[in-house]
Assembly symmetry: C2
Homo-oligomer: 334 residues x 2
């Protein structure tokens, strides 16, 4: 294995000089710098991560708890993780995958100094991990917006604005009775906050326009079609649908397309929307961007920069009907 001592010898300088060339924490003459860099390249030297972390007291690793099989929106989770990894690498950080959902994993990683910071996905309202996070005092960011996490940094998509936007779009299209076909029961039961925020925004906007609206839970399978049928049976005047359910989207959209006068818009990643041509519009769920944003927040935190406690990515309407330019919802904060 090539060590810093080998590089120093090859370049004819001391070990500390090599270190300072790499970190830039001390001024080094151009000549020396070049000699050292050449030696590094020639030897393909990579500093030993553990040695560096032991001496510098930081690991350049971020611990991530991702829901690996919560059964919901696997696609979205994947993209978020992809965004996290990509952004982390851009800032010289690596991602350590912690077993999901147990506070013990957070403890372990932190106490053993394996990570500089923690990133948590899929956080529930009364998640025990929030208490652990507080106690550990490790820089951390939540992807999500649980209640009772006021002092923690949260990054999420602005589901409430997305709900409003969907309602307003359907109303602008002329619909006078609308329905939201949303997450499956499990998600609601787990008190994942996004479902609630989405329907709150949706219902609020409908109420403001005096348009009657209902919200329905949907299984993530073809069974969702039954829900749609039931909704239409009960409210035959529903003509506008807003779908937020990865697994059900295709089924519902396909069924809806067979019914005259019915129009559907959806909240989903844009590449998914593209596979469902019968949608009138879609609101983009920027999953990868969400991952990037969360990582950016963590990195700002680690750099000691001030970061807003809550950052919500704006909802953007990706109109398929030749809209001129995408509408943007406001960025919210608290």
């Amino acid at each position: 294995m090539v060590t810093i001592a080998d590089v120093a010898q090859a370049a004819g300088v001391s070990i500390s000089t090599v270190s300072y060339v790499m970190s830039g924490k001390r001024t080094i003459s151009q000549d020396t710098k070049e000699r050292v860099e050449r030696a590094i390249d020639a030897l393909e030297y990579r500093p030993h991560a553990s040695a560096r972390s032991l001496a510098s007291r930081s690991t350049n690793v971020i611990g991530l708890q991702a829901p690996l099989r919560s059964g919901v929106d696997v696609h979205v989770v994947m993209e978020i993780v992809a965004g996290i990894v990509r952004e982390a690498r851009m800032h010289q950080y690596d991602i350590l995958l912690l077993t999901s959902d147990d506070a013990e994993g957070l403890h372990r990683a932190t106490r053993a100094s394996m990570v500089d910071a923690l990133l948590l996905m899929d956080v529930e309202s009364d998640d025990p991990r929030i208490a652990t996070l507080r106690e550990l005092a490790t820089p951390s960011v939540l992807v999500g917006l649980p209640r009772g996490a006021e002092e923690l940094t949260c990054v999420d998509f602005d589901f409430e604005a997305a709900g409003r936007m969907a309602a307003e779009r359907l109303i602008a299209l002329g619909h006078r009775r609308v329905a939201l076909l949303g997450s499956p029961r499990e998600v609601i039961d787990r008190h994942t906050s996004y479902a609630e925020r989405l329907s709150r925004g949706f219902l609020a906007a409908c109420a403001e326009h005096d348009v009657p609206a209902t919200v329905h839970q949907c299984p993530t399978t073809h069974e969702s079609v039954r829900v749609l049928n039931a909704v239409l049976a009960e409210h035959p005047d529903v003509t506008g649908l807003f779908i937020h359910n990865e697994g059900a989207l295709a089924h519902i959209a396909a069924r809806a397309a067979t019914i005259d006068g019915l129009e559907a818009i959806a909240l989903c990643p844009s590449d998914i929307a593209r596979t469902v041509p019968t949608l009138v519009d879609s609101i983009d769920l920027p999953a990868e961007g969400l991952g990037s944003a969360a990582t950016q927040a963590i990195i700002a935190l680690l750099a000691g920069e001030s970061t807003p406690k809550v950052r919500l990515l704006p909802a953007v309407l990706a109109s398929s009907r030749g809209a001129s330019e995408p509408e943007r919802a406001e960025v919210a904060g608290r």
Copy 2:
């Protein structure tokens, strides 16, 4: 931070004694051992991962390259990763998530001594990473079975046996013309080996029974229904379908259920099969088990135990039609 010195002091022993209590590499009296263990618990001591790895020259970390958005079988990928993480933790290993698909990431992680071993998913036939792996000489395991990786350890599901099993089951059900609706074009084009192995087994078994069979690529969307329609238009006598396509499964199964005499079986994780009630049978794709098996192989490698070069998990028929006990395909090796 609590260090080993704190524990030693609290227990009234030397630092090395504490270390030996933890590693068990030296005999320690019962009395001393208990005192040290009490001190460890009381102080909630966790050895500093970097210090340990610097001194012991091993990290207890496995690097993982997982395809985070290849567009295929997100669900399966997720479950495999879940299996990997779970199994790794059982053996005191952690998982470092490397950016997918670049050989550079493998280099980095290895040269910087960040990982003890590498786990690669989604390996293509002429993957540049295979050369890198050879050059690095780091213990590694592939999830998949690429050609030209003879000296590397591979773990995969026995797709060929699954193909045979599906064919034989359809034939046993009385079908005299069958079709395999398989992976989307991209997967085939990337030379991912599993699609090929599956259809090889399927066609071979059909040929042995003199049952005509065809194989078709399927998009992962509702468009797959068109493929089904086209197949039926061309071969009206097809009555047995074998589906292997996560995204298309529900669509095809739903459409197939509307056609008299048509029966479908699928290859997919069992929890997915459960959401598609119109399937006659399904062959379980043990995604999580695949992850566990791959991790077990890595750990055996790290322990210096001998491991078979190739391990294929057997195909198991999960009959929905009151079968007595699940059939098993043979384990293959090379």
